[in-house]
Amino acid sequence: MRLTLVGVSHRQAPVELRERVAVDAAGASALARELAGSAGSVGCEAVVLSTCNRTELYLASEDGSDDLSERAGKSLLALAGDDGAALAPVLYRLGDDSAALHLFRVAAGLDSLVPGEGEILGQVRDAFEGGSTGPLLDRLFRQALHAGRRARVETAIGESPASIPAAAAALAQQVFGDLAGRRILLVGAGKISELTAVNLRSRGAVIEAVANRTAVHGEELAARVESRAVGLDEIPALLATADVVITSTSAPGFVVAPATATVALRGRRGRPLLFVDLAVPRDVDPALATIDGCFVYDVDDLEAVVEASLAGRRAEAVRAEQLVAVEAERFREWQASLAVVPAIASLRARAEEIRSGELAKAEGRLGRLPESERKLVESVTSQIVAKILHLPTVRMKEAAAGADGVVYADVVRHLFGLGEEEQS
């Protein structure tokens, strides 16, 4: 069986082109069915992987890959519509080993904009589940998912945060551990602080209040994050109970000063307080960091943390590449072994035919045996055949992995006369 991949990704195509060929889960599933059904090839399989960074068509069939590639390319160009001419030069086409390695890298997050990002593995799984798969693509995608999981478990590629909201949440976890029930105070109604709050909420934290100068904006945000809106004058009182304070006001000066915080911290009995200052100019006086138990991170600090995390991910990507290469090699060996499968099947069928034939000839004598002994004869002869064929089967598969599979298969067919009877 041959494997073909035709696709477009963030590496070559701008978002204007990618969005033209992007399809949702239902669309991907329908396209896969269409490609598998109308390809006109024997046993054609298709999976469509479409994310914000890529749209890729994976096809497999019994016969040649050129026709498949052509057909897949046309499908993508058709999706692009008027932009088809601009899309054609940025399409990439990969076959067999290269296509498999590419998918394994994609599943491991090695081809993502942010190395090791976690979402892609789920997207690959969804694409697989919505695809029209057969033996080849089923095996390919299962192994790709396995490779993706291995990369995340055996390396630290996906451990560090890759965005400011994620970095803020990870810092909060470094201070408090489990964030379930932790109280968050939002000061200001900026978009980035909302994203950070949403990230913290997803980890179990509670948004205690949204303090904003403009009541309407504060109430809108409070409604979105299931909290209550308060005025800026309530900040000192809220500092006594909050665990994380996220600020993003457009105030020209500091909104939280050491004098305010010192009074509030007296009631905290030594519990730490994390300030995440996302505003420019800053809302939190950096002098607060000198107070025991106070930790202050501004937007530059968070960006530095993200940059360091990404550098760490890139370093881990080298190890993940090695893992992925091993998995790709395993798939290649499995795929190569498919070349000898028909010969092995014929050989086994021939052996079974001989065994059954010889037992049938001896039926006159065997018929006098009790049922239990007849079963014993059946079992012993089957075992003899299986044992004789075991080593040749293993050797043929090994030869297939080493690219000699077709030669071995031909020799076996010749030696055992496989297929000759059918021809005669």
Binding site: E159, F295, G312
Partner: protein, 257 residues
């Protein structure tokens, strides 16, 4: 024969120390190797202690070297119970070289051999065991407090790599060190009470005074924590200062008296 068991323990503790150091650069695999080193080493040392107990005439850890041997076993045992996970690999990096070094000293001082004379009654042996267990716990509490202070410094300094080398959360370190210190203080108190059973007024010496001072320091620290909210940095500094008394002043006064 029993003394031969010190080598697998030492080897495993050394392996754990090296693996923990290696884990700072890699992922969890090295940390897991470290943990297995701790487990195997502790089992080997347990076997050593059992062999010593079976072959000796009386309490085999009555000498300073023997006590050190038992102390190492207790420290590693406490570490196994409290912090032997990949997340606490830095604590292991502090504890395991320390444990290996002390075990070498104990071996050099003859503390891993068999005692042929009964120098201490069982009441005194029980007292020594409890005191050593208490000090072992306080050692671990100080390790956790040290880790807290280091992590707090990284967070205060807004170290860009703070998330690359993940340590346990500050609050967990604070809570765990306090809990360890509290349990250790209870054990230490029990040790002191048992010791009073064989105490004669003329026996009061400098090590005893220092031991009582250490007990008072931890007791006051824990009281302040639970009554007045002494937490975080100041509590961690207190635990480290207490450990300095245990590690430096107590041995000095012991050998001086």
């Amino acid at each position: 024969m029993a003394e031969l068991l010190v080598w697998p323990a030492l080897l495993a503790y050394g392996e754990a120390a090296v693996a923990y150091a290696g884990s700072l650069r890699g992922t969890g695999a090295s940390a897991r190797l470290g943990i297995w080193g701790v487990r195997i080493g502790w089992l080997a040392q347990t076997a050593l202690l059992i062999a010593q107990a079976l072959d000796s005439e009386g309490f085999p850890w009555g000498t300073w070297a023997g006590a050190l041997n038992l102390f190492v076993w207790l420290v590693v045992g406490a570490y196994l119970i409290w912090g032997c996970t990949p997340r606490y690999r830095l604590l292991g990096l502090a504890v395991m070289p320390f444990a290996a070094a002390l075990l070498v000293v104990a071996w050099a001082g003859g503390g891993t051999g068999v005692s042929t004379e009964d120098t201490a009654g069982w009441l005194l042996a029980f007292h020594v065991g409890l005191m050593l267990a208490g000090f072992a716990g306080l050692t671990l509490a100080a390790g956790l407090a040290g880790l807290y202070l280091w992590q707090e410094r990284r967070l205060k300094q807004r170290d860009a790599g703070v998330l690359r080398l993940r340590l346990p959360p500050l609050e967990s370190l604070d809570r765990l060190s306090a809990r360890t210190a509290l349990i250790s203080l209870v054990v230490l108190t029990a040790g002191i009470i048992v010791g009073l059973g064989s105490f004669d007024r003329g026996d009061f010496d400098l090590p005893m005074a220092v031991t009582l001072a250490i007990w008072a320091l931890y007791a006051v620290g824990l009281l302040l924590r639970y009554e007045k909210g002494l937490q975080g940095r100041r509590f961690a500094v207190l635990l480290v200062a207490g450990f300095a008394l245990v590690a430096i002043v107590l041995p000095l006064t012991h050998f001086a008296s």
